[in-house]
């Protein structure tokens, strides 16, 4: 085989390998991904046994800790629909009522279970509270 | 106060940016750029020659392979040196 032909063959082989690997990657990403949903979407379209990434605000007054489990409800950013869930695992520092969170949930036996260590709380870059005039110090 | 500082800043900026405009000059001959280009190429080629020798001495090349590589590198370097000479006096790099 002439050198030029050899080079062309090499190039074709390399490109084909790249395309195959990229396709494998792309294919598995779609099957491994969990859809991102808001609470209202989850209530509407949620299927039992499937994992979802639930995003929204922690509903005020809904946080309760029972031993190892943290119960709280995630509410739509702009709306009333809220999804209560039970979560075990790491709770990030910024977690509190009113904060935006992302948590992986699965619906089982009619209840939503937060997957272990999947809770992410958005890191606030500044407080949402404006200083009150009552502060004197 | 702020107005004063702004004016000072404005004046400084105009001075910095405007001063070259007071002395119009034409583009330097492309030759200087060519020489710089060839000098960079020469430095790179010298480095390659040294690297090849180091490769040989640290046992990565057989003698035949080294001599083949070395010869072609030196031939390429000669091309660059010839081009530099054609431009004018070749200035050897500082010792």
């Amino acid at each position: 085989m002439s050198p030029a032909r050899k080079r062309t063959v090499r190039l074709v082989v390399a490109l084909s390998a790249a395309v195959i690997l990229a396709s494998a990657l792309i294919y598995t990403s779609f099957s491994a991904a969990s859809p991102t949903v808001t609470p209202s979407q989850l209530v509407r379209e949620g299927v039992a046994g499937r994992e979802y990434q639930l995003t929204g605000k922690v509903k005020a007054g809904s946080v309760r800790r029972e031993g190892q489990t943290l119960d709280f409800a995630v509410q739509d950013r702009a709306g009333e629909a809220a999804v209560p869930l039970s979560y075990t695992g790491q709770v990030p520092d910024p977690f509190k009522e009113g904060r935006e969170v992302i948590v992986t949930v699965v619906k089982r036996d009619g209840r939503y279970i937060g997957q272990r260590d999947s809770l992410i709380t958005k890191c606030p870059s500044k407080y949402k509270v404006t200083p009150s005039k009552d502060k004197t110090y | 106060m702020a107005v004063l500082l702004t004016l000072v800043l404005l004046a400084a900026v105009i001075a910095i940016v405007g001063s070259p405009l007071l002395r119009p000059r034409s583009a330097p001959a492309g030759e200087a750029a060519d020489r710089a280009e060839l000098q960079s190429a020469r430095e790179a080629k010298y480095r390659e020659i040294r690297d090849a020798e180091l490769d040989y001495r640290t046992g990565k090349l057989s003698r035949e392979d080294y001599e083949a590589v070395d010869a072609s590198l030196r031939a390429e370097a000669l091309v660059i040196l010839d081009a530099l000479e054609a431009l004018g006096i070749e200035k050897p790099p500082a010792a």
Binding site: C123, V129, T130 | I16, E37, D65, A68, V69, L78, P92
Partner: protein, 734 residues
Amino acid sequence: MPELGRACLLLALGVCAYGIGASLYGVRRGRVEFALSGRRSVYALACILTVAFAVLELAFLRSDFSFNTVADTSSTTTPTFYKAAAVWSSQEGSLLLWAWLLSLWSSLVLFLTRRRLREESPYAVAILLGFAGFFISLMIFYATPFATTNPAPADGVGLDPLLRHPSMMIHPPMLYSGYTLCIVPLAFGMGALLARKVDAEWIRATRRFALAAWLFLGVGIMLGARWSYSELGWGGYWGWDAVENASLMPWLTGTAFLHSLMIQEKRGMLKVWNVSLVLATGVLAIMGTFLVRSGILSSIHAFGGATLGVPFVVLIGVLIAASIYVVYTRRDILASEHRLDSLLSREAIFLANNIVLVGLCFVIFWGTYFPLISEALTGHSASVGPPWFDRYTVPLALVLVLLSGIGPVIAWRRATLANARRNFLVPLACALIVLLALLAAGVSTGKPLAIAMFCCAAFVLGSIGQEYWRGTRLRRSSSGEAPPLALLALVRRNRRRYGGYIVHVGIAVLFVGVAASSSFQHASELSLSPGHSTKVGAYTVRYVRPTGTITSKEDAAHTGATMSLGAVLDVSKDGRHVATLTPSEGFYDSGEPSQGSVGHLIGGQAVSHVSMDGGVTRDVWSAIAPDMSTPRLLRVMNIANKTIPLVRPDEGMIALAVLVREYLKAPPPAQFHLIVSPLVLWIWIGGLIVVGGALIAAWPAPSAVRRRVRVGARSAEDRLDRQPRSPERGLARV
């Protein structure tokens, strides 16, 4: 003073516009004075933005709360160090920092190259000023740092306690320096294409810029990982979070570029590839900046208003379109001069390394932007998690480390197969010894990838160790120096090669740390009562007693927490005391009266203070989440909220002291997160080695060391005849 700041921004925008015009006019019409004036505009811009930055910085240091930015992110009680750094914790401040750093780096680069690259520079100047102008426009029209409120509030809200850590203060400027430095090679790459001069001069200049960008970006990433590990309560250093990935991607393409540039230098190949890499690095840096500052992807970091999203998308679109156009129209000057001589050559290894790095970048890109991609393709937004990333990046990382061990053993241009085979013996032996040692020590327990990484790292260390050994021996044979001196001289004379080797050693060490700490970690999350203990890995952790402190506004640790509750933990192994850990949780003022007169004092952002015993072989890491909702403690709080008026915070503090005392008297079980992570320290050590190696490689050799080479051979056939052409050609010496 805010007027001065606003005036600076307007002036800066004007200077940018002028500079772009002057540079382009100067280079197209051959009017040098206009090109020079354009270059000077960059210097002027740096001066103006320095003044603007100083105005903002002074406002912070003086606690001038008429500035909205100051009121939003600082307070009278914020320690001075954090006041100074709070400048860049806000959207507006960080835009100003970005623009300022860009102007500083651009000025430095233009000053250093003022006598060279005369045809490419004006275009580069125009592009750099274009970027600066974009960010300045954002500040003028979307998010100005100099907005004021009248009358000024009496106090500010204060800096988010999570950010009160030295690393967090250096991390943004470092990272932004990295991002802005990535714009410089982009500008010069584009400039070289526009001037139709992609040549040795360009290579030499661009290599320096790219290395600086790579270094700063790498340090920024490491600092972020370190902060995440030692400050945040999850005990990890990398989570494949969108923003982490955004900073890693330009670093990966930058690494690829530094390697493939050498191929272009030696063989005149891969020109299209290289300019594409340099442009991609710049675009990825802009995308990284955009990701952090817009809310476009759900991530820990994504703050910033959605208003910035549209301008950035437009900018990125323009960049990509312009890059493709310019590369396509200049493809004639980008044609390859040669081909690869042989697949058994260092150039081929570098090519393989490039493919792996770009592959890594693609995987990370796909995973990071998948929510947007899936939304565009299927209408539903979905995201992939760390397991997906790990599945693809780990094998690629293995190949990368392996390649970095193969490279040193192969010669440039064309290696001799017999020699190469011989040279692989020592590295392979090292890998084998490590494998056998690990198996004998019973480490295998089903972690093949980690074992593979350890073996690859051993291979690299063997390969590079062999190189150093041979080089030193070679040097000694001609100079007779003692080994340490010979080693030093060797490195001094061949900085790029031996400095590069050190970088690869650092990477191998780093990956050993990563593999060990992710595969062999023991973590435990549980509730413990005082006096009880638990086992984590080989260690026993006992909750000795609780701790609680009330801190006044100026506390020694400058953390500003109103109240801290924690624990003393005793860590022991096989009955022997190893360490005492004191994790705690700090409770901060929220400033929200609705939480109660005493409640608000501790109702703000809670921050976990991690306590860690770092060691050579392992880190023992602990975090606590104390339980404050026992009936007894709640009762104290309710009574305090009812009886103490809002305007008497000192009495509130006394109430808190009572609360703490109650907590200490009858401490409820607290939630603990305990981790024993092997070899984490080596991640940071590896990083330091990489930086050291990069500095050695980048340091210009003293001119006395640069030697001339006798170039006597007239032709390839003449190769045994080495008569010098003329005496002035120089002397040969190794």
